[in-house]
Amino acid sequence: MSRTQARDAVAIALRQIVPDADLATLDDDGELREELEIDSLDFLSFVELLSKRTGVHIDEDDYPRLRSMSTCIHFLTERAGHTTPQ
C-alpha cells in the first residue's frame, strides 16, 4: 500500500464518521480524536471502516498507533504487507 492509498483510506473513513469534517485544514500530526471530537464509539467505527477498506487487521493494542493522520499512514503502510483480507 502506498502512502497516498493509506491517506485516502483514512480520509474516507473519517469522512464517514464525521461528515462535516474539514480534513484539508487537519494537521498531519494533530490528534484525530481531539480535533474531530471523535468519541470511543466513533473511534470503533473508524477502526472498523479502516480495517474493512484496507484489509489490515487492527487489534485493540494497535489503537494508540492510530492517533494522527501521519501515525495512521505509517501503521497502515507497515501492516499492509501481511494483510488478512476480509
Binding site: V18, D39, L44
Partner: protein, 445 residues
C-alpha cells in the same frame, strides 16, 4: 401529538410513514415529528387500519391534538384515535350518570398515563366521553382545576407559551409578556407571536426581518435548529437549577478489573463486536439503579414516582453543538453486549436525528460520560423530572494504593448529582458504592 419530554408543548409533523388504508400494529412507527430538540419517530399505541391523516407535514399542532385516526380492525364500527383530542371542542356537559362502580372507565392508555403524570386519581375524575369514559380533555380539565385551587407559589406569573412561540419571539425581538395568547390557558402560540410581530412591523415600517411562513413552520436552517436546541436546553436546565436542590457525591473507582476484562474479551473478537468501556459503565449503573429504586424515577407534584424499569438516559453531544439524552430502555435487563449494540444504535440515530418517542420521553435516570472529552470529574445537572444524574470522568492511569502497595491503575472519578427532595446523601453514597462494587466484577454484569 404525543409529549416527547417535559419541555414540549407542540410539535411539527415532518413526515408520514403510513397512508390511509395501511394496516398498523401497536408499536409501529407511523410518523416523524419535529420538536425543538430533534426529529422523533412516533409509534402508534393501537393497531388497526389507518383511516384519516388529519395533520399534514409541515403543520404544527399542540401536544394532545389528533394526528390521525385508526380504525380498530376487530370491531369495524369502533374508531380509536391515534392520539386523544384536545383541540376538539369539549361537548356540552350533559350530565352523565355517576358510575356506581369505583372503577374509572378509561378509553386509552394515554389517558391513564397522563393522569399518572399529572398525579391525578382517575376515580375522582368525571368522564364526559361515550358512556362516561374519561377522556384526555377530562384529565386536562381536572389538572387545570386543581392548579386553580392550589396555585403554585411562584414569585411572578410566567407567561405561558409554546417553545416554538418562545423561539420565534426571541428571533423576532418580541416581548412575550406583551403578547396575548390564544392557546390553551391563554398560552402564547407561534401564530400569536407572528401576529404581534406583524403589528409591530406595521407600526414601525422600517426594515422588517422577512421570515416566510414556510421557514418558520419547518425551522429549516441549521442556525434555527441549533438556536432551537439551545433554547430547549436552556429552559430545561434553568428549570433543573431553579427547582431541584442538588446534592453531589463523588467516588474514585479502580477500573483495573474492568479494563483487563475488556482487553481480554476484545482480543478474540472482530472489531464490530468489541466493547468500549462506556458499555460496561452504563450496564453497572443500570444494575445499581435497579438495586436502589429511590434514585430511579421522577419527582412530580411533591412526590417521588419510582420508574417501572431502568430506562437509562445517555447524554449524547451532537456535532453541530447541543445535547440529547435518549434512553437505553430496560438497560438493567440487557447483557453488556446488548447495551453496547443499543448504545451504538442510539448514538448513530441521535446524530442523524432519528430517535423514537419512547426513547426521548422515558428516561428514569441519566448518565453523562464527559470523560471522553478529557475532563476528570463531571458535576452534573439533573434532567427534570428525574432525580439523579451519574457522571463518569476520564479513565486515566494513576498512582493508586491497593493493600498497602502503590501501583499504577486505570482510575475513573464517578459522581452523582441527586435531588435532595427525593433522597439523602446516605442513599446516594450506597448507590455509588454499588456501582464501584459491580465494576470490580465485570464478568458478572
Amino acid at each position: 401529538m404525543p409529549s416527547l419530554g417535559a419541555d414540549m408543548d407542540a410539535g411539527t409533523v415532518l413526515e408520514w410513514l403510513v397512508q390511509p388504508g395501511d394496516s398498523v400494529r401497536k408499536g409501529d412507527v407511523v410518523a416523524v415529528v419535529d420538536t425543538a430538540k430533534a426529529a422523533v419517530e412516533v409509534e402508534t399505541f393501537v393497531g388497526g387500519i389507518v383511516e384519516d391523516i388529519l395533520v399534514q407535514p409541515g403543520q404544527e399542532v399542540s401536544v394532545g391534538a389528533v394526528l390521525a385516526t385508526i380504525k380498530d380492525a376487530s370491531s369495524p364500527s369502533d374508531h380509536t384515535q391515534a392520539t386523544k383530542p384536545q383541540d376538539r371542542p369539549i361537548p356540552e356537559r350533559h350530565p352523565v350518570a355517576k358510575q356506581p362502580t369505583t372503577k374509572p372507565r378509561v378509553s386509552s392508555p394515554l389517558v391513564r398515563r397522563l393522569a399518572t403524570e399529572r398525579d391525578l386519581d382517575l376515580t375522582n375524575i368525571e368522564g364526559t366521553g361515550k358512556g362516561g369514559t374519561i377522556t384526555r380533555a377530562d384529565v386536562e380539565r381536572a389538572a387545570t382545576l386543581r392548579a386553580a385551587v392550589r396555585p403554585v407559589a411562584t414569585q411572578q406569573p410566567r407567561q405561558r407559551a409554546s417553545p416554538q412561540a418562545r423561539r420565534l419571539a426571541t428571533e423576532l425581538g418580541i416581548d412575550l409578556s406583551q403578547v396575548s395568547g390564544t392557546g390553551k390557558d391563554s398560552a402564547v402560540r407561534a401564530a400569536d407571536v407572528r401576529a404581534a410581530a406583524a403589528i409591530h412591523a406595521a407600526e414601525r415600517p422600517v426594515k422588517s426581518t422577512h421570515v416566510s411562513d414556510a421557514e418558520t413552520a419547518t425551522t429549516g436552517t441549521e442556525t434555527q435548529k441549533s438556536t432551537a436546541m439551545r433554547t430547549a436546553i436552556a429552559q430545561l436546565m434553568t428549570r433543573a437549577k431553579r427547582e431541584i436542590p442538588h446534592y453531589y457525591l463523588s467516588e474514585t473507582v479502580d477500573l483495573g478489573e474492568t479494563m483487563g476484562w475488556l482487553r481480554e474479551r476484545n482480543r478474540t473478537l472482530s472489531i464490530a463486536e468489541r466493547l468500549v468501556p462506556a458499555a460496561v459503565l452504563l450496564k453497572a449503573t443500570a444494575v445499581a439503579a435497579l438495586r436502589h429504586p429511590e434514585l430511579n424515577g421522577f419527582w412530580i407534584n411533591d412526590n417521588f414516582l419510582p420508574g417501572s424499569s431502568v430506562n437509562l438516559g445517555v447524554a449524547i453531544s451532537l456535532r453541530n453543538g447541543g445535547l440529547v439524552a435518549p434512553a437505553l430502555r430496560d438497560a438493567a435487563d440487557c447483557s453488556v453486549t446488548e447495551v453496547m449494540a443499543n448504545l451504538r444504535d442510539l448514538v448513530a440515530r441521535a446524530r442523524t436525528g432519528r430517535l423514537r418517542r419512547t426513547e426521548l420521553a422515558d428516561s428514569t435516570i441519566t448518565v453523562t460520560n464527559l470523560g471522553e472529552q478529557g475532563v476528570d470529574t463531571v458535576f452534573g445537572v439533573i434532567y427534570p423530572p428525574q432525580v439523579a444524574l451519574v457522571g463518569f470522568g476520564r479513565v486515566a492511569d494513576r498512582a493508586h494504593a491497593i493493600d498497602g502497595l502503590l501501583g499504577v491503575r486505570p482510575v475513573v472519578t464517578l459522581t452523582l448529582a441527586a435531588d435532595h427532595r427525593a433522597t439523602d446523601g446516605f442513599t446516594g453514597s450506597r448507590f455509588l458504592r454499588t456501582i464501584n462494587d459491580l465494576l470490580q466484577h465485570p464478568e458478572a454484569l
